[in-house]
Amino acid sequence: MSRQAVVIVFPGSNCDRDVADAFFVATGESADLVWHTEFSAGLAPLAILPGGFSYGDYLRAGAIAARSPAISALRQHHRMGGMVLGICNGFQILTEAGLLPGAFSRNRCLHFLSQDVCLRVEENDSPFLSDFQPGEVIDLPIAHAEGAYQAESVGPDRGLRVALRYSTKDGAVSPEANPNGASGNVAGLLDETGRIFGLMPHPERNADPIFGSAHGGRLFRSALSAVSRHG
């Protein structure tokens, strides 16, 4: 089988190997690590931007990576029908690059937060989410300092395709369930094609049952099955 997924590694990415391992554990397919300068459109149907601190998160999280040539290649990859998954710093890069709307500011508490959160799935009209049901609550860990999502039209998400929101265990999207001050409790976004998905939580940290619910694994399997269907 040809290569299904690649993980784009920037200087400072630090969840790159984790995503590749988790992808393999969840799907049995390997996701190859590709140094950012080696990435080009068409390498694989799915391109993953991993978490971490690309370029040290200096200036703003994701800002410098978003202006690198790899991101031009990523735009082309998407135009050619490719899928893009941005996790945490990857999500920040996608917004900085304008591939997803909005931006991130510091967590409301002003410091890094590493914890488990509950998320309500808002829609499943995307290859990344076809295994999930709208309204379903899943749990995944977050680990970020600049995770408060901000959108220009902060109103009830006009023009945004919100895929995941921070919620309580019972699926209530409430201020108490919001760990970082994200507007509208936004934790994950889709672009209009549904083929770009950015999320702040780390599915790779919850893909192996040894770490808990394994909901992250479902996300990778969902993505892979879409790839093989269209492939």
């Binding site: 400072g12 630090n14 969840c15 190997r17 988790a22 601190f53 370029y55 890094f112 590493s114 790779e204």
Partner: protein, 708 residues
């Protein structure tokens, strides 16, 4: 902090006289600067080296003991684990964020230098209580620094310790431990052996930052560095690139030796690598990639710029090494070569700016036997409290129950996908599927005990580390220690240092667990406020579980607490019983068996704060109170609840009958304390309740913030 001018002048004179005697000529200024930093306490261990020789350092698993970078132990299946702990107290007191950050960076490079990939950090932190703005700033800054470096460099911080006491006001202690993993064939010596091989500096460029930081921590130079900031800045981004570059170099077999640059910069790394191989090095300072203009040779040789490593490579491999560095956008340059004659020679252009025997640098410092000056301190023993209530209320007001989550929630505790038991309860688990195993990691300290009875505290600290990992099912395989003390020239400090080391060494030897490395930090606190002697111990435990043991389940259903093990009653809760090492060792095995039993829901060791503390922590975790009663045979009720010491564990079980039966069969003393239920907690003995409290007071104690 500086000594009186006169003292410094005298020290300088001494130094030049000794140098002249050794060299047969007057030393050049650069040479004197190098020697003065290398002979500082921080680099030479002049006051501690002799005492540290008591530690057991050998064992079937030990591959690298103390003296090199990090210690290295064999965990089987062709894999090794490197571990070391280090202090960054003085820099953190000046600039907490960067002080703590560079502390993590420094210890990370120590582990990296063995050829390992760093896989975990732990941090032991000691602060003054909240309320004073300066202390809150220090506490918050230190935690921010640990988070900033550890999170960005992609190494999880999986455990640690927080101690809050006025003794640490204005003088916080920051100890960081790093653990690394490597396949056997990646192990690198920190030894320059082969004449003609090249010495390459890799990583960040060299600037003026942190010059004389080492001697600054030793208080024996009072160099005037003017307005220059004496602060090193950590760059975790570059640190991460250094990790990745070194991994590639190691995997491709391009290095013959590797060292990290810490205190005393190039001088120390070069001299120590040369010394171990009985070789010399010839360095061309003109080739060092510099960040600032017009740096003097001494500045280049002693700069403590962060994120740098010293590589030894075969000449034919140089182009490939430089290419790897370039790939990661790191500065790299061959700055010299290994020479046959054991001299460290530094040139600038064609001018020799320093030419010193390697041994003079590394071994020339005077060693002091602290026995000569030690004088027993009056035992600062706490008085026996009037009642358990008085004692418990005092502890509730202190910070022993304050939720440590406010600290470790700021740390990425799981990047790397290895942390199977997160910070929060006892030792952390870091899985090593490569070796079909899991590591149990913990850091511990007992400053209050150490202040009163250092020898017993030293023993107890070692046993606590062992019990901590045993309570998660692991056998201890190695220790690394960081000894934070005051001024060793003070007789009482010298005494408590020697006593502590003696106690630790005795217990570690008796338990057959080697000390594979460590660090000594003297001159903490100041005259006005002597600090608590604070030995910190890092323990590495090993579980042969295939690396697949899931974290313990959240317990459901009714649960009971039971005390396992016994403490010889002494009638004085503040005198530690003399350890019975055979019992300790047997209890470790028993606890490992116990954790496989279906009725075992949680296990904690009984340590600081005795049974009371262990029960309160568990009540908080279960969010349930209960009436817990100690029977006869544990001294009086007061002692049963608050005495420390002895090989004791607190079991949480859903089947007390089965637990008792197992314990009887296994020969483990077992006392059922009571069922966890309700929102009031009562500590009792046979005569009746000794202390009772609503659960909400425990929750309040847990909510106490370390800063506002």
């Amino acid at each position: 902090m500086a000594e009186p001018q006169v003292g410094a002048k005298r020290a300088e004179l001494d130094l030049s006289r000794r140098l002249e005697a050794a060299l047969g000529r007057a030393a050049a200024g650069t040479e004197a600067a190098m020697v003065s930093v290398m002979w500082s306490e921080h680099c030479s261990y002049g006051h501690s080296k002799l005492a540290l020789r008591q530690f057991p350092v050998k064992g079937p698993r030990v591959r690298v003991g103390p003296g090199e970078n990090a210690g290295v132990v064999d965990i089987g299946h062709g894999h090794l684990v490197a571990a070391k702990i280090e202090s960054h107290n003085h820099p953190s007191a000046v600039e907490p964020v960067e002080g703590a950050a560079t502390g993590l960076g420094g210890i990370m490079r120590d582990v990296l230098a063995t050829g390992a990939r760093p896989i975990a950090f732990l941090d032991a932190l000691f602060f003054g209580p909240p309320g004073a703005a300066a202390d809150e700033r220090l506490a918050q800054g230190v935690v921010e620094g640990v988070a900033r470096y550890g999170n960005a460099v992609g190494i999880p911080t999986v455990g640690g310790e927080v101690t809050v006491d006025p003794a640490y006001a204005r003088s916080p202690l920051v100890n960081a431990m790093c653990v690394g993993l490597l396949p056997e064939h990646h192990l690198l010596p920190s030894t320059a052996k082969t004449v003609g091989e090249l010495v390459v500096l890799l990583g960040a460029t060299t600037g003026r930052d942190g010059i004389a930081g080492a001697s600054f921590a030793s208080r024996d130079t009072s160099q005037d560095l003017g307005d220059r900031p004496q602060v090193q800045v950590g760059d975790p981004f570059r640190g991460k690139l250094v990790i990745e570059a070194v991994q590639v170099l190691v995997e491709r077999g391009l290095l013959t030796a590797l060292g990290d640059l810490g205190a005393a910069g190039i001088t120390s790394a070069a001299a120590e690598m040369a010394q171990r191989g009985q070789r010399g090095m010839r360095l061309d300072l003109g080739r060092v990639p510099l960040r600032e203009a017009a740096m003097t040779p001494a500045e280049i040789l002693l700069s403590e710029s962060q994120e740098r490593m010293l590589l030894v490579v075969r000449p034919k491999d140089l182009p490939e090494v430089l290419a790897v560095a370039q790939h990661f956008a790191l500065a790299a340059a061959p700055i010299g070569e290994v020479t046959a004659k054991a001299q460290l020679t530094a040139l600038l252009g064609s001018e020799v700016v320093a030419d010193l025997p390697v041994e003079l640098l590394t071994e020339g410092a005077e060693l002091f036997d602290l026995h000569d000056r030690a004088k027993p301190a009056d035992a600062r023993r706490e008085r026996r409290p009037a009642s358990l209530s008085a004692w418990a209320e005092r502890r509730l007001r202190g910070f022993s129950l304050a939720d440590r989550r406010q600290v470790f929630q700021r740390y990425d505790d799981r990047v790397g996908l290895r942390t199977t038991r997160l910070p929060g309860t006892g030792a952390a688990w870091v899985r090593i599927p490569e070796a079909s195993a899991t590591l149990a990691l913990t850091v511990d300290s007992r400053p209050f005990l150490t202040a009163g009875m250092p020898r017993q505290a030293g023993r107890e600290l070692v046993l606590e580390g062992i019990r901590n990992v045993a309570a998660t099912g692991a056998r201890p395989i190695a220790f690394t220690d960081c000894l934070n003390f005051g001024d060793p020239d003070q007789p009482e400090v010298a005494w408590s240092f020697l006593e502590t080391v003696g106690g630790m060494a005795e217990a570690a030897s008796a338990m057959g667990v080697p000390v594979i490395g460590g660090n000594v930090s003297f001159y903490n606190g100041d005259q006005a406020r002597p600090m608590l002697p604070t030995p910190v111990l890092g323990t590495v435990g090993l579980l042969a579980d295939g690396g697949r043991r899931p974290a313990p389940n959240r317990s459901l259903g009714p649960l009971w607490l039971a005390l396992l093990g016994e403490r010889t009653p002494l009638g004085d809760p503040w005198a530690l019983p003399c350890p019975d090492y055979a019992v300790e060792a047997d209890m470790v095995e028993a606890m490992i068996e116990l954790l496989d039993q279906p009725w075992s829901r949680a296990l904690d060791d009984v340590g600081d704060g005795g049974l009371w503390q262990a029960v309160m922590e568990q009540a908080l975790r279960l969010d349930a109170g209960g009436r817990f009663e100690t029977p006869d045979g544990h001294g009086d009720g007061l002692e049963a609840w608050c005495a420390e010491g002895g090989s004791r564990y607190l079991l949480t079980t859903d089947d007390p009958a089965a637990a008792s039966e197992w314990a009887a069969r296994r020969g483990v003393p077992c006392t059922l304390l009571g069922q966890a239920a309700g929102d009031e907690i009562t500590c009792a003995d046979r005569q009746g309740p000794l202390w009772r409290s609503p659960l909400s007071s425990l929750r309040d104690a847990a909510r106490q913030p370390f800063w506002r």
